[in-house]
């Protein structure tokens, strides 16, 4: 791989301090130092990133501008004249989103006897879930307990979490792991069946379970396979473009067939939003780890229908996004690299933070190193970064550990001629996870009747900061819960609901009142990566 002179010199300094660093003990920050670091450097505390929402149930709360632009946008549908009279699908439970939460919800809803339709924007499984590498938490070891897990989740979330949701998360965890094990997810195990588990940032017990470093991939593929085996109806490339209500409760959804450019109407007794995250909004210009379809659609749909948002003023930046080579920019370097002993090192070859602090603290420390302290390394395209010294892992655990325990990471870098076992890599924070989201109850229902939400689109579980491994857990826990509850509710609803866009009428009126909407429309569906030159030249002919 090509390195500048500055990079090469710095790499030598990193090599020369390695032996010392191998035995160097860095203390955890005390609570005061932590707050100070966060408030000075974490983007969540930078005023300019946010603005107050002018409309909707969470009016007045601070939201990153990129989100606010969508929450204060119109639907392209005209609620006065839009024709909902032809029902294309009539189902008990509509699951929106083909990631981990959606798949788990669909399986459980069907198991309760409901007629289920799963619709998704890209292919079934093209989602953040399939990208999760590091692991899934669950307190199943002798020295651990759901209560210890509870405490870790709460501390990680800076004590803002919804206690009922955390209780559900940690108590369901063992059962969820057992469910996945039984479905045939290939967890890392010892020869006697004991789950291999390691630490993650902010864990007090080694509670991180993994399927090598394709944990989410293995879970997603298994759940998708099971959904296919059980004959669940799936429609791909047909995102929900708007919810349908009877004015008060949810009764269906409008789908947009992105390949034929027409819409379809689904009548459903209950709807589960499982649309995932929003990395593709690129808050404050950060790159992202997220998949192509992570554009906050579910938040927009739920918000318009009247569901309040929680903790939208906190975004998780993964401390270690790839910063070099440019082709990998923003992509995740899993926390497991640090879990196995990888060290964060500045241009002088010095560590500057204990590596297993929570993610927000790690990210803030790296930003501080690159900004105020000017101890970062500049990449050829002008980005600033710090080293993640991966060689320590091989020194500690033996040669070949990286290739064996982190095959996906290893291959990723090999593709660009970087051997992680022999060279340190460059990292900088990247937009990773939406800590907040739609407010839910422990059974997944939102404040709008018959509308459920599960997975990354929901908020409250992780308070103001999620710990690694708790999100894969959360998508399965709340996906299952929402699936069960939505199916049970559907069974009690005898007559099909009235189909209207009355909620949209109200929302559009509110927008007009405050003059908020300009010409913006939402949901976004897909991000725009064409060059401005191309877009300028586009003719309004054909789609």
């Amino acid at each position: 791989m090509y390195y500048t002179k500055e990079m090469k010199d710095s790499m030598q300094r990193v090599a020369s301090t390695r032996e010392f660093r191998m035995t160097q003990e860095l203390p955890l920050l005390d609570p005061v130092q932590k707050v100070d670091l966060l408030e000075s450097y974490h983007p969540d505390f930078i005023e300019d990133v946010f603005r107050k929402l002018k409309v909707g149930p969470s009016k007045g709360t601070l939201t990153p501008k990129e989100f606010a632009d969508l929450f204060e946008a119109k639907s392209v549908l005209d609620p006065e004249g839009f024709d909902l009279s032809t029902v294309d699908y009539d189902v008990d439970v509509l699951v929106v989103g083909g990631g981990g939460a959606g798949a788990a919800a669909a399986l459980m809803a069907q198991e309760q006897g409901a007629g289920v339709l799963l619709v998704t924007k890209l292919r079934f499984g093209d989602a953040n879930t399939i990208m999760a590498q590091g692991g899934i938490q669950g307190a199943d070891k002798e020295n651990d307990s759901p209560s210890t897990h509870y405490l870790d989740v709460f501390g990680g979330g800076r004590y803002f979490n919804d206690p009922d949701l955390v209780e559900a998360l940690v108590k369901d965890a063992p059962e969820v792991l057992a469910w996945l094990e039984k479905l045939g997810v290939m967890f890392d195990k010892d020869s006697d069946g004991t789950m291999v588990s390691i630490h993650g940032g902010g864990t007090s017990r080694r509670r991180m379970h993994a399927a090598r470093d394709y944990t989410g991939g293995e879970i997603m593929k298994t759940l998708r396979d099971e959904a296919k085996n059980r004959g669940i109806d799936v429609v791909e490339f047909s995102p929900v473009y708007e919810l349908i209500t009877d004015g008060e409760t949810v009764t269906g959804a409008v789908l947009y067939n992105m390949e034929t450019y027409d819409f379809l109407v689904v009548r459903a007794k209950t709807v589960i939003l499982a649309t995932g995250g929003a990395g593709r909004l690129h808050v404050a210009g950060f790159p992202t780890t997220n998949h192509y379809g992570a554009t906050a659609d579910g938040l927009v749909l739920g918000y318009r229908a009247g569901v309040p948002l929680e903790f939208m003023d906190t975004i998780q930046y993964h401390p270690t996004g790839a910063a070099y080579p440019e082709q990998l920019l923003g992509q995740l370097v899993t926390e497991k690299v640090r879990g196995l002993g990888g060290q964060l090192v500045n241009t002088d070859g010095n560590r500057f933070i204990y590596e297993l602090e929570t993610r927000d603290v790690e990210a803030a420390a790296i930003i501080r190193e690159c900004s105020e302290r000017k101890k970062g390394i500049t990449t050829p395209s002008g980005y600033c970064a710090v080293w993640l010294d991966t060689l320590v892992i091989e020194e500690k655990h033996g040669a070949g550990t990286i290739k064996e325990r982190l095959p996906a990471m290893y291959r990723q870098y090999q593709r660009f001629d970087i051997d992680m076992a022999k060279e340190p890599i460059l990292v900088y924070p990247t937009q990773h996870y939406q800590n907040g989201g739609l407010k839910i109850r422990p059974d997944g229902e939102t404040t709008i009747k018959n509308l459920y939400a599960a997975g990354e689109v929901a908020g409250g579980i992780h308070g103001r900061n999620r710990l690694m491994g708790n999100s894969l857990l959360d998508v399965v826990v709340f996906g299952r819960r929402a699936g069960i509850a939505a199916a049970e509710r559907a069974a009690t609803l005898k007559t099909p609901g009235k189909l209207t866009l009355d909620h949209l009428k109200r929302f559009h009126a509110e927008l007009a009142e405050v003059g908020a909407a300009d010409n913006r429309v939402a949901p976004m569906l897909l991000p725009e990566y064409r060059r401005p030159e191309t877009i300028e030249k586009k003719l309004p002919v054909l789609p």
Binding site: Y159, D192, T194, R205, R415, E528
Partner: protein
């Protein structure tokens, strides 16, 4: 530094693009907006399988658009969907034996051991080896070897025996994990403890704490040594 450019032919049409881009980013640079053929953008989902050829070379090559760099005179097309055969089964009822594989995917018998699949795989998986292992009934080996499979379909697209390797692989991993790998006893025990309400009191007391109380407890918690 002046940008190095390359000429690529997307489904036969020529575009000038910077030569240090992946196929995916180069197509966006050229003006394409992906609908199909783009998922994770990071070698996890297998949505972006691509076939290409370079000038003066008769050979067809394959790769992932999100990972493969463009080359000058590259003729390319994505194959974002592959209509592969997928059997339906209940893992619970199956035995981790060759019969389970062959009953659902009898075409595995037809493997010619030509190794075309292995050469195609962007994940450097020994695809033929895992198919052969499945055929022999060595389910554990098939599961192990196929673990990194993204289900991109590139192997299947080129297989003369019309085997859908990635679906065979997934069946093997599920069979292995369900029926060969020993169960986690501690997990079963913990599930029971939770059901019996063993932790309810502790959790109820944590839930009742205010932020200050729980913060104190959190800051004082003991941390298991790392590995």
């Amino acid at each position: 530094m002046a940008e190095q450019m390359a000429t690529i032919y997307v489904m036969g049409k020529a575009y000038e693009v910077p030569s240090d881009l992946t196929i995916m980013k180069a197509m966006e640079y050229a003006g394409y907006r992906f609908l199909r053929g783009c998922g994770c953008r990071g070698a996890f989902c297998g949505a972006c399988g691509t076939v290409y050829r370079t000038q003066d070379d008769y050979r067809l090559k394959v790769g992932l658009a999100c990972q493969e760099m463009v080359q000058d005179d590259m003729y390319l097309s994505e194959i974002p969907f592959f209509p592969g055969n997928k059997a339906n089964y209940d893992v619970e009822d199956l035995k981790p034996k060759a019969e389970a594989v062959l009953a659902h995917y009898p075409e595995v018998y037809r493997c010619l051991a030509c190794n075309t699949c292995t050469k195609a795989c962007p994940q450097d998986i020994e695809v033929m080896e895992y198919i052969q292992a499945a055929l022999r009934g060595d389910i554990a080996k098939a599961a192990d070897l196929s673990f990194d499979c993204l289900m991109c379909g590139l192997c299947a697209a080129r297989c003369p025996a019309e085997i859908v390797q990635y679906n065979v692989a997934l069946l093997c991993r599920r069979l292995y994990s369900r029926h060969i790998a020993p169960e986690a006893k501690h997990l079963e025990a913990r599930v029971k403890e939770v059901r019996d309400g063993k932790f309810d009191k502790e959790i109820a007391s944590l839930k009742a704490m205010d932020q200050r109380e729980i913060a104190k407890l959190y800051d004082a918690r003991d941390i298991e040594p790392g590995d």
